[in-house]
């Protein structure tokens, strides 16, 4: 079928509208008199209806049509909003989601039934149509009516726009011209009164009327012209009966979609193409490193110059490609208000959920991966973190609990925090649990500080909850979160004050593919340490290292930090004899500092991360590999899983 090529676009746009519907309904539930929310909802339902009718997805079209009718009643204050109505509408959105997902395969699922839901939504179609129908599209001649008719069959709408300029406005013709120009961006002008020649010659008072056909909503058109200087008032009247265009032929549907695609200044690109682009840039980065090395070996100034220039251009190219791949975390966050609402109702907890920094951008590949971990963290916060309303009152806290999801940039990393003001996590209780489970001895537990205790939460199967609930299950979750985030090159932190709440923080690299590293030698082997975890490098005398039963430590910034001998840890074969001087790279392991004893510091280098492949992709302490300028391979150290 001809329409199949538009299916992807349909599904993607439909998903966006469904998100808007979800968000809008949540907003409306909070503030039932939010006029903007109502119009937004109406607009999304309407657009979705038009799209699905064009694609021949009958059930989606019928359901959205009914939703539109209901929302229109709300809009005209003939129906008031209560939580029952919101829930019915949310139910309709859920069903629509299932319909759209099934439509992604080309056909709406037969198993999904819309009729019952349609009947449960209040209907006011007949009244509305009378209201919106302008008697006999006043003042249009036969030709103009034909254009209107034709536009209507494409799913477009006719609008009569009355524009009132400010009294005594200068440059009236110029203002009118701007109005026409803007309108033409949205559709076609079919008639003007007075006519265009007269308007151009400024032969009109301060009012003129334009008839257009457009795929846009009234509100969109209004937005486009209402801000033009000297425009005092605009009134838009819809000319066409607004109904599901059922009898439209396929050819015309195509035309409608085609013209819709031409508008707008953005392009949707398949993510695999961006991946390929990124890979190619990555290859260039490798080649550049090789060239830089060559120019050093050959001691050629002109080659060095050219390489320098190449480097600068490459840096910009890399930057641009990276930017293209960046997506706002809102793409993931926007699902959560609905989820939190549903869960809090299910758990009978009053929760105020706020999102901060949803405009923060991350690489697309990372965005795709962080959804599940965040769902886990939010569910945990709701289920385990928050007390019930009664418990909160007994503890002298407000009845309504707060959960805050925030995202922000810092340096080369993006921080995402899930913060709740619930009961907090008692580190002692965590240790007790670990002892009970037999993962720790009592003595070991006693030695753990709070941060180390919190890290136990991320062990497989660990749960401090005594209850087992539907929501977060049996403590499966946090270990999955940690594994996923580590795989993304990030880390997970916990901070908690018992009685006051907990904060789970995910720290992620901005991008996955290219990593700034410190290159070191261990024995004869070369390793790369992500710069994001490096605090400092130090050259110290070997005697300055304390050795207590094989455990090395050193003084650093007024405290003692453990030092790991990488040669030993990585079982390097060609161990070199320990020299008097030692290089230590001080790195963050979670929030704590740890020294890594290495044999040589090579320098900083930007590297391209390559996947490791079968058998070697899960070695603890190694998160990936990279190909060096000389064709050799350096392994990337993962400090978290090293010991």
């Amino acid at each position: 079928m001809e329409l199949s090529q538009y299916l992807d676009i349909f599904v993607e746009e439909a998903r966006e509208h469904l998100l808007h519907l979800n968000e809008g309904l949540m907003r409306l539930e909070q503030k039932p008199d939010d006029r903007n929310a109502i119009s937004d909802l109406f607009r999304s339902a309407h657009t979705l209806k038009g799209m699905s009718a064009t694609m021949g997805f009958d059930k989606t079209a019928r359901l959205t049509h009914r939703m539109e009718s209901t929302l229109d009643l709300v809009r005209h204050e003939q129906l008031s909003i209560d939580s029952g109505l919101i829930s019915t509408l949310l139910g309709a959105v859920d069903l629509l989601e299932r319909l759209v997902e099934s439509a992604a395969s080309g056909q709406e699922s037969d198993e999904l039934q819309v009729d019952e839901l349609i009947l449960s939504l209040p209907d006011g179609t007949d009244d509305r149509q009378v209201q919106l129908e302008k008697p006999a599209a006043a003042g249009l001649n036969e030709h103009e009516l034909v254009v209107l008719q034709e536009a209507r069959s494409r799913g477009w709408r006719g609008q009569q726009i009355e524009v009132q300029l400010a009294p005594g406005a200068l440059l009236k013709a110029a203002r009118a011209f701007m109005v026409f120009q803007r309108l033409e961006q949205h559709g076609e002008v079919i008639k003007a009164e007075p006519n265009v020649t007269d308007i151009e010659a400024e032969r009109f008072d301060d009012r003129f009327t334009v008839w257009i056909v457009t795929p846009s909503e009234e509100a969109v058109v209004l937005d486009a012209i209402v801000n033009i200087a000297d425009v005092a008032a605009v009134q838009i009247t819809q000319l066409l009966k607004d109904e599901v265009a059922a009898a439209v032929t396929t050819q015309e549907q195509d035309a409608a979609f085609g013209s819709r695609l031409k508008t707008g200044k953005t392009v949707r690109v398949d993510i695999t193409r961006l991946d390929r682009l990124m890979n190619l840039v990555s290859e260039l980065v490798i080649t550049r490193t090789r060239l830089t090395q060559l120019s050093k070996e050959l001691a050629s100034n002109s080659l060095a110059d050219a390489t320098g220039q190449l480097s600068r251009i490459l840096l910009e190219l890399q930057d641009e490609v990276m930017k293209v791949r960046m997506v706002a975390v809102d793409q993931v966050f926007n699902r959560f208000p609905r989820m939190v609402r549903d869960l809090s109702q299910q758990l009978n907890k009053q929760v105020e959920f706020t999102i901060v920094g949803q405009e923060t951008e991350l690489d697309r590949t990372i965005i795709d991966e962080i959804g599940d971990p965040l769902v886990h963290l939010l569910r945990n916060a709701l289920d385990h973190g928050l007390e019930t309303a009664e418990q909160r009152q007994q503890a002298g806290k407000s009845k309504t609990a707060h959960i805050r999801l925030s995202a922000y940039h810092r340096g080369d990393s993006v921080f995402i925090e899930v913060n709740d003001d619930g009961r907090g996590i008692d580190p002692e209780r965590v240790k007790q649990k670990a002892v009970q489970r037999g993962t720790l001895t009592r003595q070991e537990a006693a030695q753990l500080d709070d941060e180390a205790a919190y890290r136990l939460l991320f062990q497989p199967g660990f749960s401090t909850s005594d209850r087992i609930t539907d929501v977060s299950g049996r403590g499966v979750g946090l270990d999955v979160v940690a594994t996923k985030i580590t795989a993304l090159g990030g880390r997970t932190l916990v901070h908690s004050v018992p009685g006051e709440g907990s904060t789970f923080t995910i720290v992620l690299p901005l991008t996955l593919a290219i990593l700034a590293t410190l290159q070191v030698k261990v024995g004869q082997e070369r390793y790369a340490i992500p710069l994001s975890v490096v605090d400092q490098t130090a050259l110290i005398k070997r005697q300055a290292l304390q050795d207590v039963q094989g455990h090395l430590s050193m003084h650093y910034r007024g405290s003692t930090i453990p030092v790991l001998n990488l040669q030993e840890l990585l079982a390097s074969k060609e161990a070199s004899a320990p020299s008097e001087d030692a290089f230590v790279v001080v790195v963050y392991r979670g929030k704590r500092l740890v020294g890594l004893l290495v044999d040589e510091l090579i320098g900083q280098e930007e590297i391209v991360i390559k996947p490791m492949g079968r058998f070697v992709d899960n070695c603890p302490g190694i998160s990936g590999a990279t190909i060096l300028g000389d064709g050799g391979i350096a392994l990337i150290l993962d400090v978290m899983s090293l010991v």
Partner: protein
């Protein structure tokens, strides 16, 4: 887009030597055969993985087939080759003593491995084929490269 004759494609083998015996893998699973090149050791990898190589810009793990099959170990020499195979969409290098030939084995010449060889190796083998007066052991790559996940 060639759709080769089933009999021919099933039995076209790349044959290599391991500890004096001839082993074969289906040619359709072989991506390339390379002379041995520098192998970067990966700490904490399974004992039969020698490390990773740079195969024209891709990082590819190398499995030491002698170690994997429990045969006595042997150093690398000028005959050592790496047979790069693709299984489940992933490239893996197989370190072998030397490359012998490519040949086509008729279906009738293949027997189940258990009848010919005993011991632990049979788990990794698909069957044994006869070629002239030589025995060629057919490897079951899926099992040789099973990560146990």
């Amino acid at each position: 887009m060639s759709v080769p004759n089933q009999v021919v494609s099933d039995n076209r083998l790349v044959v290599f030597k391991l500890a004096g015996e001839d082993y074969g893998v289906n040619i359709e699973q072989v991506h390339t055969v390379e002379k041995v090149m520098p192998i970067t050791r990966v700490p904490r990898a399974p004992h039969f993985v020698d490390g990773v190589i740079n195969l024209r810009g891709e990082v590819v793990p190398v499995v030491n087939l002698r170690k994997r099959l429990g045969l006595p170990e042997k150093g690398i020499d000028e005959n050592t080759h790496i047979v790069v195979v693709v299984v489940d969409g992933q490239m893996t290098g197989l370190l072998v003593d030397e490359i012998s030939q490519v040949l086509t084995l008729p279906e009738a010449a293949i027997q189940p491995a258990e009848q010919v060889i005993g011991g632990t190796r049979t788990g990794y083998l698909q069957g044994v084929g006869k070629w002239d007066d030589k025995l060629i052991v057919l490897m079951d790559l899926k099992r040789v490269l099973d990560t146990g996940k």
